[in-house]
């Protein structure tokens, strides 16, 4: 069975501070992992994805994520957040056996002044 866990439903950070949003996955094979973002009143957009190679992948708007096979994790990071980063972030797993991707429950990020 495959699953994705985002343990933090809400995260609040100050503008300019660093950010880490956590994602843990459960899958015995080689995972393909994604982060999507849903800005207020907008559709979901892909931030970044990982399927092989360098475990640190770069995405749009200064986001990056690090894959760890030993920890079954794919945490999202940003060095300095801006108020416009306030959104809901979804971690997503694509397993080998299925043709569809599994979404985590999402983390709502609020950036405060």
């Amino acid at each position: 069975a495959q699953s994705v866990t985002q343990p933090d439903a809400r995260v609040t950070v100050s503008e300019g501070a660093s950010l880490q949003l956590r994602c843990k996955y459960s899958y015995s094979g080689t995972p393909y992992l994604f982060w999507y973002v849903q800005y207020p009143r907008q559709g979901l957009q892909l931030l970044l994805k990982y399927y092989s190679g360098d475990p640190v992948v770069q995405g749009v708007n200064g986001f990056e994520a690090e894959f760890s096979k030993s920890n079954s994790s794919f945490h999202l990071r940003k060095a300095s957040v801006h108020w416009s980063d306030s959104a809901v972030y979804f971690c997503v797993l694509s397993a080998n056996s299925g043709t569809y991707q599994r979404f985590g429950t999402g983390t709502k990020l609020q950036v405060v002044p």
Partner: protein
């Protein structure tokens, strides 16, 4: 670029009513998806289709029917709306690769009175 259009934007129904949601994409993508988004539960896959006239059940297919009569369109029917149900239904499309980015529509917001 392309676009995904979902109609209607807002749908209000009565308990027990059959309701149909429509999705159109002009990406020429093979695969299309219907998700349900509830607060705090992330996105749950209802149905997906890997090609015209194909239908595959997702994790939440009970209570729904789907139809893919053309490559560009994918419809979802709520077979019997549940009282006080509120959710957003998202349509997405992608090419048929495991690492493929999904492109999302703006959603249909369902309210059942």
């Amino acid at each position: 670029g392309g676009i995904i259009t979902q109609t209607p934007k807002f749908l209000i129904g009565q308990e027990g009513q059959k309701l149909t949601l429509k999705c159109q994409q002009n990406f020429n993508h093979d695969t299309m998806y219907w998700y349900r988004q509830d607060s705090g539960k992330g996105l749950r896959l209802i149905y997906y289709s890997i090609t015209e006239n194909d239908l595959q059940k997702g994790d939440l297919s009970e209570g729904y029917d789907a139809s893919r009569e053309k490559k560009s369109s994918f419809s979802l029917t709520v077979t019997s709306a549940q009282k006080n149900e509120m959710a957003v239904f998202l349509c997405a499309s992608s090419i048929m690769d495991r690492d493929a980015e999904q492109f999302f529509g703006p959603g249909t917001r369902l309210t059942v009175l």
